[in-house]
């Protein structure tokens, strides 16, 4: 059961990531990103982090993915060329990616990954409003600044 709980979201995340990177059609790229984000939420569930999995679905699949689709709708009218891969630096990028993979897989090999112990929303709330209260407040401030920045950028773009 544990193997299935890991393998299914892992496969979904891998397929989604590959589709995000290699899909030539931008809508397929967005679908791949959605599959990746759902797979990540499944991996959080496998790790016993149900609150984070729910936050992932709400914030990413419900928010960020819709933002990406909205941006694609605006950007797709770009007449300067069709989207997709096709860089001259593909080989260099592949070497960098494989090197990063080997570095990460080897460097983190000895870090212990224990069996998930599970942690409910009540304990997350205790952590967020206890030892992490300043980080929590800082993130709230950051989201407010980001909201103001988005409004400012869009208003400036509309004035031009």
């Amino acid at each position: 059961m544990s193997l299935v709980a890991f393998a299914v979201p892992a496969a979904l995340a891998l397929i989604g990531a590959v589709a995000t990177v290699f899909a030539r059609d931008v809508m397929r790229m967005a679908l791949g990103l959605g599959a990746f984000l759902l797979g990540v939420a499944g991996l959080y569930l496998w790790e016993g982090m149900s609150f984070l999995a729910a936050a992932q679905v709400f914030v990413y699949v419900g928010g960020v993915l819709v933002l990406v689709l909205f941006a694609l709708d605006v950007v797709r009218r770009d007449p300067s060329g069709r989207p997709g891969t096709g860089s001259r630096h593909d080989l260099t990028a592949a070497v960098a990616a494989v090197g990063t993979f080997l570095l990460l897989a080897n460097g983190l090999r000895d870090v212990p990954v224990g069996a998930p112990v599970g942690s409910g929303a009540d304990r997350v709330a205790t952590a967020l409003l206890g030892p992490f209260v300043w980080q929590f407040e800082a993130v709230g401030l950051l989201l407010l600044v980001a909201l103001a920045a988005v409004v400012a950028v869009m208003a400036r773009g509309a004035r031009r």
């Binding site: 890991f6 959080y44 990413y60 941006a71």
Partner: protein, 97 residues
């Protein structure tokens, strides 16, 4: 062990996408893949510890940070596309040194 290899693979796939995609929205999506892989890896390290709830709290902070980054990044892309009609990375050279 398997989750370490999985996250390394996801991060590398995202890195390849960031380096090769030409559409700015696609580059942002690939950056999201990298960020997601890194967060899953961090949570995997925290999940087996007795204070896993603190790790999960850090994960919530990371999700909020990534959402703010995506919102600002996409707003810039949309504003540039609306004002100049360009959305490919090689076209955006105003701040090149």
């Amino acid at each position: 062990m398997s989750v370490i290899v999985l996250c390394a693979a996801l991060f590398s796939i995202g890195l390849y996408g960031v380096l090769t995609r030409r559409e700015v929205v696609a580059v942002l999506a690939c950056a999201e893949v990298m960020l997601g892989a890194a967060t899953v890896q961090a949570m995997a390290f925290a999940a087996g510890r007795p204070d896993a709830a603190q790790g999960q709290a850090l994960g919530v902070v990371l999700v909020a940070l990534a959402a703010a980054e995506a919102a600002v990044g996409l707003a810039v892309v949309v504003a540039v596309a609306r004002s100049s009609g360009r959305s490919r990375v090689e076209d955006l050279t105003e701040v090149r040194g």
